[in-house]
Each structure stands twice: as structure tokens, then as C-alpha cells.
Amino acid sequence: MNTQHIKYRVDTDGIAFVTWDMQNSSVNIMNESTMNTFVGFTKQAIEDKNVKGIVINSAKNDFISGGDLKWFLNYNKTKQECFEMLMQTHKNLRLLETCKKPVVAAINGMALGGGCEVALACHHRIMTNHPKNKIGLVECSVGLFPGAGGTQRFLRMLGTKKTIQFITQSKKMSAEDALKNGLINDVCSPEENITELAKQWILTKGTYEQPWDNKNYKLEGTPVGIGQISGVNEFYSISNAMAFKTTHGNLPHIKNVLSVIYHGASCNIDNALEIEARYFVDTLFSKETKNIIRSSFIFIEDAAKGKSKPAGFEKVSFKTIGVLGAGMMGAGIAYVNAKSGLNVVLKDITLGKAEQGKNYIKKQELFKLKKGFTTQEIIDNLLDKIKVSESAADLKDCDLIIEAVFENEKLKNSVTKETEAIISENVIYTTNTSTIPISTLAKASSKPDKFIGLHFFSPVEKMPLVEIIVGKKTSNETLAAAINYVTQIRKIPIVVNDGRGFFTSRVFGKFVNEGITMLTEGIPPAVIENVAKKIGMPVGPLAVSDEVNLKLMLAVMYEDPTLTSHEIQLKNTISEIVKIHGRTGKKEGKGFYDYPVDEKKSIWKKWLTIYPVQSSYNEEKIGRRLLFSMVIDAYKCLDSGVIKEPKDADVGSILGLGFPIHTGGVMSYIDYIGGNEFVAYSLQLEKEFGERFKLPESLINRVKNAGNKRVFYKN
């Protein structure tokens, strides 16, 4: 018997096969409808007297890839209904594991999240040991935690320590690791028939008691009883402190999953599952979790698939990329291209310089080799893809050019001309710049329609975002191809229209400006830095400024004719800081911080006398000034068309600025605070600190029109 998503058959040996095979999808996804069908068939198998045992397997390449996050985001029922739904799932899986017939999961591929949870409710798990196959509870990475009993079954199989570690860090295991850790019972090779092995296990062994249903079962490391003897007291204390250190308490799902594990450990399985459901409801209904699902998962996933590509253009793929300039950025760009299987011509003015760039890549790879993350063969293949050159003539076969020379307009222009003379008509020419307008650089090009900006972030091999900057004359065809290219190298594109600082650099500048402004007002520098981190920014504005360097910031400000009065004042202040106090940044070892050799950096003591400290400060206001300054500017980008859609701003801010994920990004932040509250607080900040906190009329209207609903996005 078959339905849309799951097939069911009983063979002549009395083995029932419940086979996941979701229609119109390459993977099996758990949602209300698939789960209902699944449960229906398992019940049928349990009740059928001819069935001796049950095999749960998949007709796809993967087992079950997890839950449907869009469904979670748009969940619109009550908390009570949500709780009852979760408890129903618990009941159904408990029924399966106590049915007195052996149940086997034949894990032929990925078993993540909900997929892993279903497998854990079986009596026996066999997994194919293909190197790409992974099993794990990865829900925490999307703002949730396992809600189908995973926390409690994993806990009872692997103990408290591993459970906290694996679940909070969303760690996946290979089949071999899973076997070693006791999460699965057997592995087989991809060539073996896993379904047949599952059946044979039922026919030859076929036990059907879960360890936790045995009355002698004892969970190691329960919080009840003598603490230090089992190390439980310390272990929970360390887990709590570690989780707090990394989240600053901003992510409710992390604290909730720690609670689920802590409280569940002292209970029997049924009460423990109820605890999981209670905390899951609280988590699913939290603003933070919805923000993470929406922005950090759905939006970023869409962007990664290139969904912002203009309609009507065929997919283009690229084979050979020419990278001009083998400095830090150029080398990084060459690296990610080669890693994605593209050939690279890495050109610099001398062969020696180009070699230097390639050596940077080699060094990184050898480090990975030392740690056991790669093999010499992979490295050799990778390096073979990168051809170093000092001659523009070598670029003639490239089908895309990335220019990554110094941020100097004249230099960039001459490189453009030199290269265009070699490459063929239809080759796209991209420039990696973070400041110079693309339309200005395009003037040097003979084919401005093929000219486009690609703003990579440093270090390229680690930072996933690429800003694609569309110049005035850039064609839609070029944009479409650029988006294809960025997704081909597995980076995440956002499309930005030309403008000073584009999107990310411009918006991030406001954060740094606000931090420096607060220092000059007499807010203690440590407070500014600590509050920034506490609200979820990865680094404080003063530390960032030191990385960027005040001299560079000044240079950019001097060239900007659009500075506001506050920015002009700030420019003068920064100029004083550089000239009078000689503080510039990390490079010189003297910025907002001191950089002693062999010691950690520390805030320069003299700030406290240069800008005498205020007797009191308002923590909330400091945090909000830092975030509002970015949010308001990001909205102005949207308003003026630098950014097309709010979600591009959210994705760009999370991946490019490190904007706190629990807020959902710069645009989602407005709804996180609440539209009306955002408007009211901005007004207060505007009164106190001036026009930089003045909201555009259109935003005030949007908030007004939204009424009690969200300003951006339905959910």
C-alpha cells in the first residue's frame, strides 16, 4: 500500500517495510502530513498479527533529513495545541518502541534532526558508512532543539556530557563515530543491501526492549544524588557557564535545551518526554527562535540557492576564473574557487608575488593536513587547479575575471584596460572593492554592461557572504551570471545597488561611529565594548575600529561629500585622536587598545582622562544606540534602493556584520523590538543625540500602517 509520501508492504517472512519516499522532493521531510502517514503505517504493522518485525527505511538517497522549518515558522496554533501535538508524537513513538515487535531503522543516508529522532525510537539502527552520511540532532543550529524525544533518548544512550555537547553544538557523526559512541548498533558498506540486513537482524536477533524500559536501567550523571562523585555538579556548572559565555543569554533555545536535559535526566522516560515538550513549546513560540528560523535559515538558504537571480536567464556555470592580484584577498578568492573545483589563473605583477599568494593557500592546507582534516592527494589536486602567472596573456581562456588589486582607482582602471584587451567579448569582469563605486570604476571599461562588483569579506575562505554590486550600466544578464557564479563557489550572494560603502561597509560604519561617539561622551570604553558583545555583536566597536584603522576611516571620510554634521564632527574628533594622541589602530600597536607583545590587548588607560568618565550610564541605551544606528541606516538603504528587499538586509547584516542572530537581522530587529517601540525609542534618541536617529517618514508610516501586525514579513 502506498501513499504520496510513504510506502508500506509486508513480505512473506512477515516483515513490514515502512519506506519514506516523499513525493516531489529529493529528500524526506518530517511534517504533520508525513508523520501522520508514518504513524498510520507503523500502527498497522503493530496491529497486524502476521507482522513479526518492522523495518523503517527510505527510498531516497538519504534517510530522513529533518523537520519542515517553514512549517515551524508559520505555526499558527495555540501553545496548548502545540503541546498536545508534541505529546501525540511522543505517544506514537513510545507505542512503536514498546510494541513488542522488533523495529529497525535502516539508515541509508543522512539522518538529521527529526530523522535521527525517529531512528532513536527504533530498537536497532544500521547505518551505511558512506563518508558523506551523517547522523545527528542538529536542531539547535536553527534556533530549536529536538522535539520528537531526541533529547531524552540521546541522553539515555550517550549520557549527560555527550548529550549536552552534541545537541547544543548541533554536532553530526559519521556512521563509524555513531557506532563508537553507541548511537547506532551496526554499520554496513554502501554496496550492501541495508534493508535486507535490517530484515535479517529481525529474523535472527529481533529484540524489542529499549534500554530505558528495562527496570534495571540507570542513567549515568543524573543531577540527583551525590554530585562530585560522578562529576555532575561540575559538569552542569561548566555547561551552563560555557553556554552563557557564547550566547550571553540571548538565545532562549540554548538555555531551554540545557533545562530539558537537566530536568529530564532525573525523570523516567515518559515524564522526561513531557518535559521536552513543555520547553519546546516555549522555544517555538519565542521571538528569537522565529527570527533564527526565518533569517538564519530560510532567508540564508534562499540566498544561497541564488533566488535573487533576475528571471529569464539560463543557468551559467564557470570553469576557469582569472584572479588579478595575489594579496590576502586575491589568494583567498583563488582558494575558494579551487576548493569548488574551478580552475584559477592567479596573476600578479611578478611571478614571485603570485607564488606568494599560492603559498598562503598551501600553508592553510598543510595546517589542515596536520590536524587530519585533509589528505595530501586532495591538496595536490587543489593546488594543481591554481596556475600562477605574471602575464595578462594567460587570462585569455578565463570565463570570469575577479580583479582584487589594491583599493586605488587609477590602478584598478589600468588593470581593467589591460585585461579587457586580452579576454573575449562575453567574459564578465568583476571587481572586488569595498569602497569605490562600481559605476565610477566601470567608466574605465569598454563593456560596462559586463562590469560588476563582487565584494568578498576577509578572510575569504571563512566568510560566506559576497555582496554583488550592480553598477548603473551593469546588465541583468551579467547580474544573473554573477549570482550563478557566487552560488557555484558556495558563497551566499546579496544584491546591492551602487552607492558609497555599498551596504555592509556603510551600515557597519555607523556601529563604529556610534561606539567612538560614546567614548567621547565619557562612557567608559570597557562598558561600550562589553555592552556590544552582550547584545550579541561578535566584537566591540572600538576593537573593530582598531582592526580597520582610524587612518583608513579618515581617508574614506575625507573623500565623502555626503557626511552629516555629526559625521563631520566625528571626523574632526578622529583626526584629533590620530594627530594629537597618535592613536590609529592595531597595525601601529596603538589604537583604542594597546597591543603589547606577548600579552592580550587592553584598552588604553588614558581615554579615561581624555574623555572624563560619566558618573552613570544606561546599559540599555548604549546597546540600543549601537544597534539602532545600524538599523536606521540599513532602512535608509532599503528606502533609497541600495537594497531591494528587507531580507537582503537581514542576510547581509547577519553574515557580513555579525548582527545578532536572535534579532533576525537589521530589518527583523524592528519587529523584534516592536514597531511602535522602535519609533518611540528612536524619537527619544533623536532628541538626545540628534538627527542621525531621525527615522525616514516612510518607516514611520510603515509602522503606523502595520498596526498590531509585523512591519516586515508575515511571520
Partner: protein, 410 residues
């Protein structure tokens, strides 16, 4: 806000008739008292009180014992077990209490309150802790384990001490100097027999001595020897707990970890008891009161920085007593970490010449549940030796509390 004093409205007084303690043994498996159970430590003192005072034990009504780690052989109301093993008689009731490091003084205060209110006539109170046999923390605690109680709300006391030092700018040299002075004072006092009046040697069943003197004093400690010690809480702080402190104490760029084994209280084994009663019972037993317990106070403080409690507790107890700092002849403040007494003296403007004159827990150790009673006893002995009148004993307490008690010689 400080309370108003009602002290003159109470007629009944609580008197200390005797005060005894064991020597403090190093709280490790190699320590001299690690062969002795906490019950045996307590009964040693009960026996001594009986013998020293020729005590009619049938008149002792209750035994109140402070003990922090109430697990294993310190679990299940150790006071009652000690009472049963004491041969005082079946009438003797007993209770064990836990106010963390203040437990020993809390026991005294509760006994005094019972006497002053007329609920009881004669009580033995004090504390015990065998840290070598029942390690700190093995009783577990929701405070450190349960996410709601712990997440962003718990840091170990050593990190709190370093936080205080960072906040108020105490240097490694400041705390080390205090550590050296504690050792010098304790060693001088020990040599000159200042502790002898109260110390009861701990002996085995044959009468062979386990330990007769405080074991952990290091007379040869210098600033130079202390300078070689590594900070104890740096690694765990930087890896785990500092961020929790910094997110509340935002002006802290980085916590300066300066406390180590040489400027913090040592882990030791020990017990202390006092015989407390009203005037009539003393007359009946033919005992001379040594001092009256004037009044005590406890107060809660911010739980992360945790160890600043002695300051508001002292202010509160002085207000309750209608007294000023200058009315106190001698102070005993528990040297949990050197920064605690340093901050206490600086904040209340008290001269070190009248604080912990015979050293403290840095030199002699801090048997958690017993210390409160021990330092009050030390204060009493010293008042008598110097022929002075009034002393105040105070301790910082885990979780953010402070306790203080004032005694006055008759």
C-alpha cells in the same frame, strides 16, 4: 536602609560560658585529622565542654551545628548523630543548619536568640567540617546545576574575589601582603600560646594525639614565596565564568586574577562549640559568664560579586546595637580571600591593627561550617587577653550574604 535599634527593650541576655575548638588539620587525605570523622571531631569537643565545666549535661537542651557539605557522613543531621554519640543523654535534641560559610556563627546567633527569647536556657552551638573526608560540593547544588538558577547567575567564589579586586583596584601585591601578615600574626599567636585556652587536642581511642595545634600555618611565608604561586582561578575564569561576571560588571574589561593558595583560605578539618545560656542557668551550674552575645545580623547581597556581605552586615548589626565602628575594640573577619578583609577595612575605615590580630583563615584555614564559631571564640580569647570589651565577628557568605555578631565582655 538600616534598621532601628530595639536592643534595650530586651531584658534577657545570652551568655557565652565556654568556648572550645579543635586545632585545624590540613584538609587533604594527608592531613592529620583526616583519620577523624566529623562526628568524632564534634564529640571530642562535647566531651571537653562536659569535663572543663563539670557540666550537668541533662541541662543542655539543644545542640545546633553549622555544617555546609551535608552529604555522606556529614549528611542526615550530623548534629543529632554527634548528640547520640556524646553520652549527654537522650533528652538532647539537635539540628544541623547550612548558611554556607556563616553556618558556625549562624548556629551561635540562633542559640542566642532562643536564650534571649526564653525558649531555651542552655544550648551548645557551633560547627564542624571535615573537608578532607567530605569534599566541598559533593552535596550538589541547584545553584550551579539547574539552568534557571545558574545560567548567567553563578560564578565560583574565587572568581568573585578576583572580581572585587579588579573592581576596586587591589593588586597582586596588596593581597599577597595581607597573606603574609596573616601568616606572621597566626604564627606569633600560636608560638605565644594565644590559642591554647580554647584548643582541645584531638586524640584517638587510646589517648594518642592526632593533632594539638593548627597544622597549616607557614611561619616562613614571604612576599617572595607567594610571588611564585600561580593564580588559582585564572584558567577556569577565562575559559568559563569571567564572561558571566563581566556581563553584569560592565566596566570590567578583564578580570585580574590575583588570588591563589597563599592569599586565600585553606581547606581544613575542624570543629568549634560554645556553651550558651541565660544568667540563671549559669548560676545554677556555678559557671561564670565570659561575655554576652549582644546582637547579630544577616543580610543578602548581589550574588555574583557575592563576598561584599560583611560590609552591610556590619553596618546593620551596629545599627541594631545602636553602636558605631569606633565602639568595637576588635574585629574578626573571615579571610576567605585576602581581598575580603582588605575591602572591608577600606570601606568601613577600620585600622588593620584591630582586625584579625591573631591571623585568620589564610594561615589557619577555613573549615566551612565551623569557622564562624571559631573566629568568634578567637575574638573572645583575645578580648580577655588584651582586657578589652567589645568584639565584632563577620563573614562573607556564598550566594551573596553577610553575617555579623557583636559580643561584649561582662
Amino acid at each position: 536602609m538600616l534598621p532601628t535599634s530595639n536592643i534595650n527593650k530586651h531584658k534577657m541576655e545570652a551568655y557565652i560560658y565556654d568556648s572550645v575548638r579543635t586545632p585545624r588539620g590540613i584538609g587533604k587525605k594527608t592531613g592529620s585529622l583526616s583519620q577523624v570523622s566529623p562526628v568524632q571531631l564534634t564529640t571530642t569537643l562535647l566531651k571537653a565542654l562536659k569535663e572543663r565545666n563539670n557540666l550537668n549535661t541533662l541541662l543542655v537542651e539543644d545542640l545546633i551545628i553549622g555544617c555546609v557539605t551535608q552529604a555522606g557522613e556529614q549528611g542526615g543531621n550530623i548534629a543529632k548523630v554527634a548528640a547520640q554519640c556524646s553520652n549527654y543523654g537522650n533528652h538532647l535534641s539537635a539540628v544541623t543548619l547550612n548558611r554556607y560559610c556563616a553556618s558556625g556563627l549562624e548556629a551561635i546567633n540562633q542559640a542566642a536568640v532562643k536564650i534571649k527569647s526564653g525558649w531555651s536556657n542552655l544550648i551548645i552551638a557551633g560547627g564542624v567540617e571535615s573537608m578532607s573526608r567530605v569534599p566541598m560540593g559533593i552535596d550538589g547544588s541547584a545553584w550551579v546545576m539547574e539552568p534557571d538558577a545558574s545560567f548567567g547567575k553563578f560564578i565560583p567564589q574565587g572568581v568573585s574575589a578576583d572580581l572585587i579586586a579588579t573592581k576596586y583596584g587591589y593588586s597582586r601585591n596588596d593581597v599577597d601582603r595581607f597573606g603574609v601578615s596573616s601568616q606572621m600574626r597566626a604564627s606569633f599567636a600560636q608560638k605565644n600560646g594565644y590559642f591554647d585556652k580554647s584548643i582541645i587536642a584531638v586524640k584517638d581511642l587510646n589517648g594518642f594525639t592526632h593533632l594539638a595545634k593548627d597544622e597549616s600555618i607557614r611561619a616562613n611565608t614571604t612576599l617572595e614565596t607567594l610571588a611564585t604561586l600561580k593564580p588559582s582561578f585564572k584558567q577556569m575564569g577565562e575559559m568559563l565564568f569571567d564572561q558571566t561576571a563581566i556581563d553584569t560588571y560592565l566596566e570590567t574589561e578583564r578580570i585580574n586574577h590575583i588570588h591563589h593558595a597563599g592569599n586565600s583560605s585553606g581547606l581544613v578539618d575542624g570543629a568549634a562549640l560554645m556553651l550558651i545560656g541565660n544568667k540563671e542557668i549559669g548560676e545554677k551550674l556555678g559557671l561564670k559568664p565570659r561575655a554576652k552575645i549582644k546582637i547579630g545580623a544577616v543580610i543578602g547581597t548581589e550574588p555574583l560579586i557575592m563576598l561584599e556581605g560583611p560590609i552591610p552586615a556590619t553596618q546593620k548589626v551596629l545599627a541594631l546595637a545602636g553602636m558605631k565602628i569606633s565602639d568595637i575594640d576588635l574585629f574578626e573577619i573571615n579571610e576567605a580571600f585576602a581581598v575580603v578583609p582588605l575591602r572591608f577595612m577600606d570601606n568601613l575605615n577600620i585600622d588593620q591593627s584591630i582586625v584579625n590580630v591573631n591571623g585568620g583563615a589564610i594561615a589557619m584555614g577555613h573549615p566551612l561550617g565551623a569557622t564562624g564559631c571559631m573566629i568568634l571564640g578567637t575574638a573572645l580569647d583575645e578580648l580577655e587577653r588584651q582586657n578589652k570589651t567589645t568584639a565584632l565577628a563577620t563573614l562573607c557568605v556564598g550566594g551573596g550574604m553577610g553575617i555579623a555578631t557583636i559580643i561584649e565582655r561582662i
